[in-house]
């Protein structure tokens, strides 16, 4: 699991720096809710999640809803004290872990608790991540009734051998069925795919893409597998039990995804995200990339308010202990200065098809951007209009471009 970033320690009373409030009226507000439980830990996963049923007082699954309610109380009170305006919440996202390990009634209850403290917009997007194993028509109906609008399904691959290497337990053949249940419940559906698993062939990946497309989801996320330090998979690669995935292989697979998804009507809007149209994009994730305000609840969750980044205590016990003691679960934060905020803005928006205004880059960065446009890494038409929007080749080299255009920051 990655450690939380290095930062300053945050005040126990949850008070917010004044800079977090400045300009809040002009920014949207989103909420993230972290559910730190899984049935099994997958070999590649470095997320903040736990497989034990009992984690101690306040930290076990049965305590989840009341503890989260306590956090909602604490945070909404601290918003009021800081003088943050009463804004509508435009999106809510339940992530994990496996949120759908909790009974549907608990998830619905948590959403109800959220409504008790925050004003959800009438058209709010409410998403939960879900493991295909955990869903049933009844479960989905309960979510829909409670106000959920979207399910992001962890499909990962259509190839059983690849799923086995990923330690995923679901039956690939079940995916089309689950997708149809989600649709029948009136919810949008997104499929998450992973490519570049050690041992996965290009044909395997093509099969996964084709099966995903055949399910006709609203949205597809396609992630290149990242070998994170400290995971079981990293150890297997280190010991030579699994081959190290190659960047060239990942590039081939990304290009294949772009081609197959594109011809099936899915257009990219962020490096790893494709949708059937603008109304099926994940608005919650766009809020991250566009620099909106968002608050994260649950163990280890991160938050952002106007250039202040904060993070909760990571272990469910540490998180619960702080709440039980009447303290803020936020343990660390960093208050970003103008240059760093600018660096983050460029880093995040360069990943988007809507792109960023070239005129907003440092002078040297604008010169670099022109070079990239010449080299075919930026869309020529957008570049003409002063927009930095990467081509297929440019998306694959996005980090390289960001380093160059921000060199003087």
């Amino acid at each position: 699991m990655p450690a939380q970033p290095a930062g300053q320690s945050a005040p126990l009373d949850g008070s917010l720096p004044a800079s977090a409030v400045v300009g809040a009226d002009d920014r949207g507000l989103s909420l993230y809710i972290h559910v730190p439980y899984c049935r099994v830990r997958c070999g590649y996963c470095d997320f903040n999640t736990y497989t034990a049923d009992e984690l101690g007082p306040g930290a076990s699954r049965s305590d989840y809803r009341p503890m989260l309610a306590a956090e909602l109380d604490f945070v909404s009170a601290s918003f009021d004290r800081a003088g943050l305006p009463d804004r509508e919440v435009s999106t809510v996202f339940f992530g994990g872990g496996t949120p759908t390990l909790l009974p549907a009634e608990v998830l619905a209850g948590v959403l109800m608790d959220v409504r008790g403290r925050f004003r959800l917009a009438a058209d709010a997007e409410v998403t939960t991540e879900a493991n295909p194993d955990t869903l049933s028509p009844d479960y989905l109906a309960t979510l829909a009734t409670a106000g959920f609008t979207r399910v992001s399904l962890g499909m990962q691959s259509a190839v059983p051998e690849v799923l086995a290497i990923l330690d995923r337990t679901h039956d690939a053949a079940r995916i089309p069925q689950v997708v149809s249940w989600v649709k029948e419940a009136g919810l949008q559906v997104s499929l998450d795919l992973i490519y570049g698993t050690p041992g996965e062939s290009l044909a395997d990946w093509r099969a996964s893409l084709e099966q995903a497309i055949a399910c006709a989801p609203d949205h597809v996320s396609a992630y290149s597998l990242i070998i994170e330090d400290g995971t079981k998979m990293a150890a297997q690669i280190r010991r030579g039990r699994l081959p190290m995935p190659s960047d060239d292989d990942a590039a081939d697979k990304y290009e294949l995804a772009d081609r197959l998804l594109g011809s099936a009507g899915y257009q990219w809007y962020e490096v790893s995200n494709f949708s059937t149209g603008s109304e099926t994009r994940c608005r919650h994730n766009l809020a991250y990339w566009r620099g909106d305000d968002w608050w994260g609840f649950g163990p280890g969750a991160h938050s952002h308010l106007g250039g202040v980044r904060m993070w909760n205590a990571k272990h469910p016990r540490a998180w619960a202990d702080r709440l039980l003691a009447g303290h803020s679960p936020v343990i660390g934060r960093e208050i970003l200065d103008g240059d760093v905020q600018e660096l983050e803005r460029i880093m995040l928006t360069a990943r988007l098809r809507e792109g960023l205004a070239i005129g907003s880059l440092p002078a040297a960065g604008q010169v670099e951007a022109a070079e990239f446009a010449r080299a075919g890494l930026l869309e020529a038409g957008a570049f003409e209009r002063g927009i930095f929007s990467p081509t297929l080749q440019g998306r694959l080299l996005c980090d390289l471009m960001v380093r160059r255009i921000t060199e003087t920051l």
Partner: protein, 620 residues
């Protein structure tokens, strides 16, 4: 146990008033790690010149590097009293540098003595440099006292190595003294034997003054301290002295002896050893081997054997952080005060920026200077592959002296001469085959081979110095499991079929990687560098050819394929801080990139490409 001489006896060996028959001048010839400094420590203690409470290990080694590496770079002289049969004697121990690069300094130290202790580790036997220095001592007609040290070690084989020494110097095995510098056993006998065996000096007390400089050291507080052996006549405080080679004159501000701390004296007479201070600030004004005389009793003939220090090995030193260039200049200026052999001039490399082309006596000298620059002056340096001095004659008759491959002339070359050395390798007889193969592969011509004992062999070769500085020593060590030792000395020049191999990145020559090599080796050098750089240089936005070329002819090529993917696939709420920090780190890393044309090359790649081969200067 501090058997000092009595006060009465001490009065008979006053500095500047000691009869020559009561003086003994000697040095210790030993390989590093054979215990020279420890034996010297014991002598200082036993003769009582260092009190137990002041004692520290390797008392005479002044620089940290000397103590840490256990080698003596600069010599020093110590005067010690000792009594035999009721007669007091003044012993001057002249510490000699123990390394191949400092042969000339060794020769001057030897020239200041009448005798030498040949100190050999009783568990290891003699090593190549010791043998070379022994021959030097025998050429100087020094009396040799063979001493086997470390007899306290369980692995000691004194009988075996006594036979070996006896065979080398033509004495009886029983003549070898057995000592332990560590326990002190046998050290008093060594002192006795110095007095009985080594002849007293026989200078002309009343002749024109001639003193030989055998060491010259810069001291921050006192300026240059010059160590001399007075051969004829005498020196007194406030004498006006003259350096015969330069005719420079100075006033003697202080004269004295080390015992081992400096003791000013009323002067130094023929046969004595001591130090002079004149207020000069640069050791170049007080050169090892030069003759000092006085204005009031001037000598016209210098003592024999003076040579200008001449750099044999050249390397470019570049600060990794370009802004440290002025600091590097200042540091070299300071080191030069104490190192007459170090030369340097500014050099600009397209790949490495601003630096200095430096000349050294040899590889160890190079490494010591580099290490001192990094340690004492806190500089981070890249050094280019060591090169030697080539004489290039063109068909039109013009001649070029090339110390830097980038200065190698273009056009029609008639002949290239390269410096040669006479190399001596001592090896266990098991490894004679691999050593001979290596020497032949390095274009060596065999001059001879002798068995020092049943299982130890001395091999003598004439080899190009350029091959020695390349990777000879590392290979010698790896082929002999570390057992072989090497010594070499200059041995003229030889015409050779040499070419310059350039390395090109994306069509641009990387000057730092150019090398002058034998034509038969050019291809393998080119292939090796190209494949090494392919591994070291990260993939770029475009395909980068790495080529090796002789002139315009490409002899090897590798391709660094264009990078296709440089993007993290996930960047959600909790990833943002982490990803930004990674980005900041990568941007910081970019500052340590050098641009070669349009190619970004990490500093580390230069360091790795330059160090793995040329770095043969490890502890000899």
């Amino acid at each position: 146990m501090t058997p000092k001489v009595s006060d009465d006896a001490a009065a008979r060996i006053q500095v500047a008033a000691t009869p020559q028959e009561l003086i003994r001048n000697f040095c210790i010839i030993a390989h590093i790690d054979h215990g020279k400094s420890t034996l010297a420590d014991r002598m200082l203690q036993i003769t009582g010149v260092v009190q137990p409470r002041d004692m520290r290990a390797q008392y005479l080694d002044r620089m940290d590097i000397e103590r840490e590496r256990g080698i003596t770079i600069k010599s020093q002289a110590v005067r010690m009293p000792w009594e035999v049969d009721g007669a007091p004697y003044a012993l001057n121990m002249i510490d000699t540098p123990g390394h191949v690069d400092f042969t000339y300094e060794v020769s001057r130290s030897l020239a200041a003595c009448e005798g030498a202790l040949l100190l050999v580790d009783a568990a290891q036997g003699i090593e190549a440099q010791t043998l070379a220095n022994l021959y030097l001592a025998l050429e100087n007609d020094l009396t040799i006292i063979p001493v086997l040290n470390k007899i306290d070690l369980p692995a000691a084989q004194p009988d075996k190595y006594a036979d070996e020494l006896a065979g080398l110097i033509g004495c009886e095995p029983e003549d070898c003294l057995l000592v332990s510098g560590k326990t002190g056993e046998g050290v008093e006998e060594v002192l006795d034997r110095i007095i009985t065996d080594i002849p007293a000096p026989e200078g002309d007390l009343d002749g024109p003054t001639r003193a030989m400089i055998f060491d010259s050291v810069y001291d921050t507080y006192r300026g240059v301290v010059t160590y001399v052996r007075v051969v004829d006549g005498s020196l007194r405080p406030r004498d006006k002295i003259e350096m015969i080679s330069t005719h420079a004159t100075h006033e003697l501000l202080e004269i004295g002896v080390s015992s081992p701390e400096p003791h000013p004296s009323k002067g130094l007479r023929a046969g004595e050893v001591g130090y002079l201070i004149t207020g000069v600030k640069d050791v170049r004004q007080s050169r090892v081997g030069d003759t000092v005389t006085t204005a009031h009793n001037p000598a016209t003939e210098p003592l024999a054997g003076y040579q200008d220090p001449k750099p044999m090995v050249f390397s470019g030193l570049f600060p990794i952080d370009g802004s440290q260039y002025p600091d590097l200049r200042e540091a070299l200026d300071k080191l030069k005060l104490n190192d007459a052999a170090l030369t340097y001039e500014p050099e600009t490399s397209a790949a490495l920026g601003f630096g200095f082309r430096c000349g050294f006596l040899g590889l160890l000298h190079l490494e010591i200077v580099r290490e001192r620059l990094e340690r004492e002056f806190d500089l981070d340096l890249i050094s280019t592959a060591p090169s030697v001095v080539y004489e290039v004659r063109m068909e039109d008759g013009t001649e070029h002296t090339v110390t830097n491959p980038s200065e190698y002339p273009e056009g029609k070359i008639a002949e290239v001469h390269e410096p040669m050395v006479r190399a001596t390798v001592l090896t266990p007889s098991d490894f004679v085959g691999p050593v001979m193969e290596l020497c032949q592969a390095k274009r060596g011509q065999m001059n001879g081979m002798d068995y020092l004992s049943e299982d130890r062999v001395e091999l003598r070769y004439r080899i190009p110095l350029g091959e020695i500085v390349f990777d000879f020593f590392d290979q010698l060590k790896s082929r002999t499991k570390g057992y072989a030792s090497l010594d070499y000395e200059p041995d003229g020049q030889q015409a050779a079929n040499l070419v310059k191999v350039d390395i090109l990145l994306h069509g641009d020559t990387v000057d730092a990687f150019s090398a002058i090599v034998h034509r038969d080796e050019a291809y393998s050098y080119g292939v090796k560098m190209a494949s090494k750089l392919k591994e070291l240089i990260p993939r770029q936005q475009f395909e980068v050819p790495v080529q090796a070329a002789i002139g315009s002819r490409i002899i090897a090529r590798e391709t660094i394929r264009a990078i296709r993917k440089d993007v993290l696939s996930k960047c959600y709420g909790g990833d943002i801080s982490r990803k930004r920090k990674l980005l900041e780190k990568q941007k910081e890393g970019k500052k340590r990139m050098k641009m070669v044309g349009t190619v970004e090359v990490p500093q580390d790649a230069f360091i790795a490409a330059l160090s793995s081969d040329g770095d043969g200067a490890k502890k000899n």
